[in-house]
Symmetry: C2
Subunit: 418 residues, 2 copies
């Protein structure tokens, strides 16, 4: 009997992670491999809560291509270390064995690659034959060994489009009203997503180079230099448009969001980096300042996804299945950049062992010397990743997204007792 | 010599106000009328800072159709009352006379309609022949006498799409992570834009009816009932997705954003309604809660504009010019709903005198009895307004928007001395 495959989604979802699921499941169907999915990532595997994807129509699987979020549910869950508690790993092997799983695919970021690496090691130790392949995914773009991370290009396109549009807005208003606009974006400890805002500055449709300021976690925040720069922009351009990364830290390495900042009334101000920076400008420069916080919108906005990103997401899922069938093991599929202009890419792979728990920050050469913008080198890196549109179908004015049936696989084991 | 027309944009801009400019200018070109534009609204008229739109190519004027924001600059400026200071009105007449202006068009919301009404009254008093026509525009949808306000449908489509996409996201995450997602939207004292979030609940692509809660300025906020409802949603659906209007007030009529709320550390929490509500959930229910603040993004997101809204914006601009040429005066162009299903509309008009400074709140019958959602009646009203897409062209991965030359008209007068 041919082995079944198990696929699961993990960590913060993206607008295109389902395209990876689609690539993998379509390739599996071609190869007559049955795919089960973990409901809510590895937690569903632990609780033997599996979904039978073979019950979904070809049409619904194809519609995953156009549907944001994790169709099978994702999770934030860190497996316990094998040395401390190998009950979890034993349980996983039990579930794999009960359902004749020969291939395990985990679709996620750095922590998730660590999870699959642990599972791979343990299955080897336990003598259970299991091919383990990681599929990359994160809007943070912080995985090593891959030129970019599926999910990033679409979030980047959202951020660049949004700051472009909002900058057109503030240009209209600045003469008598708002002088500063701030967009807070995600990215954890790295500035990749904030950097994407810089694409709007360099585009034909740019307004006065906006955003004129980008704040990166890689550059220690200096309040005085920052406020000077804001003032300078307003003098020069009439307004100042800013993209700030949630992960910005001050010179002591403390997140801005953890710093005490008093408002005009002496109240302590709490909030994310955007809130803090906005209040700083209002208190010190007395300008009218507007703040947008993109939050989940940037990682779920499938309606403005990048075509390149969707293609890459699909490809890393499809390749994962195909490489597994060729007997490759213990790898994560990657995107390899073949050339910048014209942009050419292919799918490669990297050893799981080296990928797990590594975080790729922006190279210093991608950030201008003053620390407030991106360089041409960065622009060359980012530009190909937001190319092309692949709009979802719309029905009744809204995007048409699919919800799968998600039929459960009948359980064969008792509950997990920790 | 035929009279010239003067057009200006006022108040917060939208993603489609330039479509009204496009409609007006294209109609004027057909009728051989020259259009000057006030740079930054009426403030540009006061300072004789006028733009000669005849210097723009047909192609660039057509591109206004696809470009968000106010291409000639907008303003937040309230004319002084004639009784208190008629220098301003005198000055306006001087500028009109110097540039042979026979038609004045002001494109804005309630305050702007008041401005044009004042100008109309004064020009009559002063014996200066001037046809004054208001063109409606506001994402707040709070102008009376028009079925809807150009700009609203596109912002509504943005809000509904965004909460739909973010709700897909939180559905994936809720099992082990975020349980509550909040989107704060604009709308000033009215809940029209928040109501638009409800379109996502009723759509085929809805996830568990999300957003399950909408907070309207029209309904006094009750913390206890609200928190109970959040808890109920999480029990029933696994997560809770919320749209909150910036203008929500408590039972004493105080804006949530003006209320003191202590955080877990006893710090006073400041922020908009979304920030307050998020902190309230974290403090009282201890759930992980994410907050997005759409801010300018919702009013500038031309990439996801409503086709119906664009067509209406164009039409009210075009009709304003045509009605002026027919000698109509002292009116604002409006949208008249001819039928719901199929949706049919036409352009009408309302007397400026009655429009100025009136604010149209949501009817109580548009809000469910419990105050947390929209009714079928509201759904029937809103649904047609977000229909259709009219994507801008994209170049190099980003929307292609136009920036006009905005050549100045040579000044003929000295500076204004107040």
């Amino acid at each position: 009997m041919p082995k079944n495959a198990l696929y699961a989604q993990s960590g913060g979802v993206t607008s295109v992670i389902n395209a990876s699921a689609c690539g993998l499941i379509e390739a599996a169907r071609e190869n007559k491999i049955k795919v089960f999915a973990g409901h809510n990532g590895v937690t569903g595997v632990l609780s033997e809560d599996l979904i039978d994807t073979s019950k979904e129509s070809n049409q619904d699987i194809a519609a995953l291509h156009y549907t944001p979020s994790g169709a099978f549910g994702s999770c934030r869950y860190k497996l316990k270390d094998i040395e401390k508690n190998n009950n979890e790993c034993k349980r996983l092997i039990e579930v794999f064995a009960a359902h004749n799983i020969g291939y395990f695919f985990y679709n996620g970021g750095g922590d998730s690659q660590d999870t699959i690496y642990k599972i791979s090691c343990f299955s080897q130790q336990a003598g259970y034959p299991l091919i383990c392949i990681g599929i990359p995914k994160t809007i943070d773009n912080d995985l090593p060994f891959t030129d970019c991370c599926p999910g990033f290009g679409s979030a980047a396109k959202y951020v660049a489009t949004s700051i472009c549009e909002a900058s057109f807005d503030i240009l209209s208003m600045a003469a008598t009203s708002t002088k500063v606009f701030i967009l807070e974006v995600m990215g954890r400890h790295t500035g990749w997503l904030a950097a994407a805002g810089g694409l709007a500055s360099k585009n034909h449709s740019n307004v006065n180079g906006a955003p004129q300021i980008i704040l990166f976690p890689e550059i220690a925040f200096n309040q005085e230099l920052f406020l000077q720069r804001v003032e300078l922009c307003i003098k020069k351009y009439g307004f100042c448009s800013i993209v700030v990364s949630e992960g910005v830290r001050n010179e002591e390495g403390k997140f801005l969001s953890d710093c005490d900042l008093k408002d005009a009334f002496g109240h302590t101000q709490l909030g994310g980096a955007g809130t803090i920076v906005a209040q700083m400008i209002r208190n010190n420069l007395k300008y009218k300042c507007q703040l947008a916080i993109a939050n989940y919108l940037q990682r779920s906005a499938r309606h403005i996804a990048s075509k390149v990103d969707i293609e890459q997401s699909y490809a890393v899922g499809k390749a994962a299945l195909e490489l597994a069938l060729k007997g490759k093991n213990n790898i994560m599929t990657t995107i390899v950049r073949e050339s910048d202009k014209p942009y050419r890419w292919s799918v490669g792979s990297a050893p799981l062992e080296q990928v797990a728990n590594m975080e790729r920050k922006m190279p210093r050469s991608y950030i201008t010397e003053d620390g407030f913008h991106i360089t041409e080198e960065c622009l060359n890196y980012l530009t190909p990743l937001i190319q092309g549109e692949d709009f979802p179908a719309f029905e009744n004015g809204l995007p048409k997204y699919v919800r799968l049936r998600n039929n459960s696989v009948p359980k064969k084991l008792g509950s997990l007792i920790n």
